[in-house]
């Protein structure tokens, strides 16, 4: 099976439709395409957010996502996989992250997309800083996200 893997860390926005099309256009072996778009919310636990600034570790971010992509490819029969993560300042309503998975089977596409998102949250070297009326502060990691990632090592 030939798989198309695309990983991009970029400041500019992405076009979800174009990325979905890039994985599936002209192919007849794909039965399922799952996309996940992570979007900046204007409110975090009741506090109004003016913007997020995402800092990342260039070089390691790409390497770490590629390692997770390779794990996903080994675990599920994927025909393609795209991960795009933005950095820099992002305002509410704007895209932060995109994961697209394509497979002949829906369960594989769903599970691989969830797996990648769980690890993007907990192991890709990105850090969010929030701007709100109360000033700026680093977003705290959540135990819930670690638990979500841990479920992939239990089975």
């Amino acid at each position: 099976m030939t798989a198309i893997v695309t990983i991009r860390i970029q400041e500019q926005d992405f076009d979800t439709a174009r990325e979905i099309a890039a994985l599936s256009h002209g192919r007849t072996d794909i039965g399922a395409v799952v996309s996940f778009s992570g979007i900046c919310r204007g409110n975090d636990s009741g506090e109004e957010i003016a913007a997020l600034t995402l800092e990342h570790y260039p070089g390691m971010a790409e390497a770490e996502i590629m390692r997770r992509a390779e794990q996903a490819m080994a675990r599920w029969p994927l025909s393609g996989l795209t991960v795009i993560h933005r950095h820099g300042r992002i305002t509410p309503g704007q895209n932060i992250v995109l994961v697209v998975t394509a497979s002949s089977h829906r369960q594989a596409a769903f599970e691989a997309a969830e797996f990648l998102m769980d690890y993007l949250k907990t192991s890709a070297p990105f850090w969010k800083r929030e701007e709100s009326a109360g000033g700026e502060s680093w977003v705290e990691a959540r135990a819930h996200d670690d638990e979500a990632a841990a479920r992939w090592t239990r089975s």
Partner: protein, 83 residues
């Protein structure tokens, strides 16, 4: 060896990267954290809770007991909050 800092670790130390030459007894990531903590108040503040600090050697996550011998680039940062 080159050391990089990110997020609030970077802010507290006041620099994004530097080249350090720890003494021979500094063999692991946790040794390096302990040694860096003694390099001044800003370092002591950045590493005041060593358990929350994450580390990478040459772009891969490592545990505190990982040996640093041969590392080109070591990074310290808080738990990640991307995605």
């Amino acid at each position: 060896m080159k050391v990089k800092y990110f997020a609030w670790v970077r802010e507290r130390i006041g620099k994004a990267e530097e080249t350090v030459e720890p003494p021979a007894g500094v063999r692991t990531i946790e040794d390096l954290i302990a040694w860096l903590s003694q390099q001044g108040e800003t370092y002591a503040h950045a590493f005041e809770r060593p358990k929350v600090i994450r580390a990478a050697i040459d772009h891969a996550h490592v545990r505190p007991d990982t040996a640093i011998a041969g590392a080109r680039e070591i990074a310290f940062f808080p738990p990640m909050t991307g995605g």
